[in-house]
């Protein structure tokens, strides 16, 4: 793990010292980061044979069942830089360096967050990721609404994570340690009072808002839409999964006997949110907003899968998180290719693109199919596992999840048909042809997803 943590740290300095031309900066940055990602891939593939945790030191470890998030982060950073190339081309060099340093610091905090063994360190990194993201959204977003979006993002996540801090400090007082290594062997806590129920809720609310759960999801469409493409990518692909990862850890360790009864309202919110946000998606005229609400919908399923606390539920949640990370990021990149050409996110303005950019249509097609969970893609595998564990929990959930799957298919197809099929608007001229950078970006997003069809063991987690 030192192999990719230390280079990430050094990338900060590298961003400052490189040559003054943009192309050099971008190519070198993304090249180096891809190398880091490759090291990580190698490590993760080796991890498939481990049985226990690998420790760097007592404070950081990589478990054999949750290493994929670090891989996702490392994989995404070069993709983020490649995708920002166009809109950063006009900025002065120091601002480009700042942008790349913000992205790199995000990767650094995320690696530390996903490999932390001490819960306070995880909490610190969880909070630390807020700052670079806020800076990216509010400084480099495209509309005036980005300030509002940044405020919503910051305050929703910050306010909901304060109870988590209190809960963690309480836990430290009760058990004397917050290290995951020790907590897993400590005695189960005696959670019987009303205050303990509040403590339970305090532990989980931060992650539920981050996921996001349907009732507290308002920050997500704003933040995803107003952020520049790299901000949208990292938000959709990794920061949401930070919530899922945190929930999995907390539920496995300390939240035990209360979760049986107290998880009911949150499962209800999550499943109802799948249906409701799916219906909202069908009504959207803003392309990025559609993809943002579809993220909420998929994450609702993930929350449902985690909160039923069965091995299949956790495995399904893990698979869906990884697959959704790649898919959602790919869709945001595609929406950005549209935006770069017509400078509008309106879905009605760039229609019938299959006639003009047929190769990009292929990527749109694959990404839309992945979004609607087509077999044999891992998106479907994750959804099936979650659906199965939910049906085992209560057969009535099928009504909601079945409707959710139908609605997901309909809005994914709606998005594909609106942007690619149909009449080409007559006033659209001077559309750039698809750059090879865009093809590279989409290939690097979707090829791992397609390759995961052939070796799903890599992300199957517990049940392998």
């Amino acid at each position: 793990m030192v192999k990719f943590l230390f280079p990430t740290l050094m990338l900060h300095i590298h961003a400052d010292l490189t040559n003054y031309r943009l192309m050099t900066l971008i190519t070198q940055s993304s090249g180096h980061r891809l190398m880091i990602a490759m090291i990580n891939v190698h490590l993760t593939l080796k991890m498939a044979q481990w049985l226990d945790e690998q420790h760097l030191n007592p404070y950081m470890a990589q478990t054999p069942y949750l290493p994929h998030f670090v891989l996702l982060t490392c994989w995404l950073l070069p993709l983020m830089i490649i995708s920002s190339q166009h809109h950063m081309a006009t900025e002065p060099i120091n601002r480009q360096r700042t942008y790349i340093m913000l992205l790199t610091s995000l990767q650094f905090f995320l690696i530390l967050a996903f490999s932390a063994t001490e819960l306070i360190m995880f909490y610190l990194m969880f909070e630390a990721t807020l700052l670079p993201t806020l800076m990216i959204i509010t400084r480099w977003g495209n509309q005036a609404e980005r300030l509002n979006a940044g405020m919503y993002f910051l305050f929703y996540t910050l306010a909901s994570s304060l109870p988590l801090l209190v809960a963690l400090l309480l836990l430290q007082n009760t058990t004397g340690t917050l290290s995951l290594l020790t907590l897993q062997y400590s005695n189960p806590l005696n959670l019987s009072t009303y205050a303990d129920k509040l403590w339970w809720a305090g532990c989980l609310i931060a992650f539920l808002v981050k996921m996001p759960l349907y009732g507290a999801h308002l920050w997500l469409p704003k933040a995803h839409v107003e952020a520049p493409v790299a901000g949208s990518m990292i938000l959709a692909a990794v920061l949401l999964k930070l919530g899922g990862y945190g929930m999995m850890r907390m539920i496995l360790l300390v939240l035990e006997p209360l979760s049986k009864e107290l998880s009911y309202p949150f499962i209800v919110f999550a499943l109802w949110g799948v249906v409701m946000t799916g219906l909202i998606c069908l009504r959207q005229t803003d392309l990025k907003s559609l993809i943002a609400y579809s993220s909420v919908s998929h994450m609702g399923l993930v929350v449902g899968g985690i909160l039923v606390q069965t091995p299949w539920g956790f495995a399904g949640a893990l698979i869906l998180m990884i697959a959704h990370g790649l898919t959602s990021s790919a869709l945001f990149c595609l929406a950005n290719t549209n935006y770069e050409r017509i400078h509008s996110r309106n879905i009605l303005l760039a229609r019938g693109l299959q006639m003009v950019l047929p190769l990009m249509t292929t990527w749109w097609f694959i990404a839309s199919l992945a979004n609607l969970a087509l077999p044999p893609l891992p998106n479907l595998m994750g959804e099936l596992m979650i659906l199965t564990s939910l049906i085992n929990w209560s057969p009535w959930t099928l009504a909601l999840t079945g409707a959710g799957v139908l609605i997901t298919a309909s809005y994914s197809l709606y998005m594909f048909l609106m942007t690619q099929r149909g009449p080409l608007p007559t006033h659209l001229i001077a559309l750039d042809p698809s750059h090879s950078r865009e093809h590279l970006l989409m290939a690097l997003h979707l090829l791992p997803l397609l390759l995961l069809i052939f070796k799903p063991h890599l992300i199957w987690g517990w049940v392998s």
């Binding site: 309202p265 209800v268 005229t285 509008s344 006033h427």
Partner: protein, 127 residues
């Protein structure tokens, strides 16, 4: 009556055909002509931009921008009426409680069956 003249890039629409005017009031005709004048001005602007050989950008339609902004930002204009409150309850509050009730009774029944020993476990490869 008709101050409306046909312009080079905007022909006379059918609703403004003088032969159709016989049963309409003067007020109505004047209003229709005014609206037609505005519309034809917009059409003329659109045609100018469409046929401009130096244009590289998208033609901005302010009506579309206003409409999509209105679709995306309804919250400042929300007014709690009977209908909106009913919709909020039906889609936001009642389903939560109804689903909680459904899941709770189903699970409690299962729990009671398990405690009484009457629960048939079907074969489950895993859970």
């Amino acid at each position: 009556m008709a101050d409306y003249k046909e312009a080079p890039l905007a022909s006379r629409p059918k609703t403004l055909d003088p032969n159709e005017y016989f049963n309409l009031s003067l007020e109505h005709r004047r209003a229709e002509e005014e609206r037609a004048a505005l519309r034809s001005n917009l059409k003329r602007q659109f045609q100018t931009q469409l046929n401009d050989p130096h244009r590289k950008a998208l033609i901005e339609d302010q009506a579309l921008n206003r409409w999509s902004y209105a679709r995306g930002h309804p919250y400042p204009y929300f007014k709690p009426t009977f209908k909106t409150s009913l919709m909020g309850l039906m889609f936001g509050v009642v389903p939560i409680f109804a689903l909680y009730y459904v899941f709770k009774t189903d699970r409690d029944k299962k729990e009671a069956d398990i405690k009484a020993g009457k629960f048939e476990r079907r074969f489950c490869l895993s859970s």
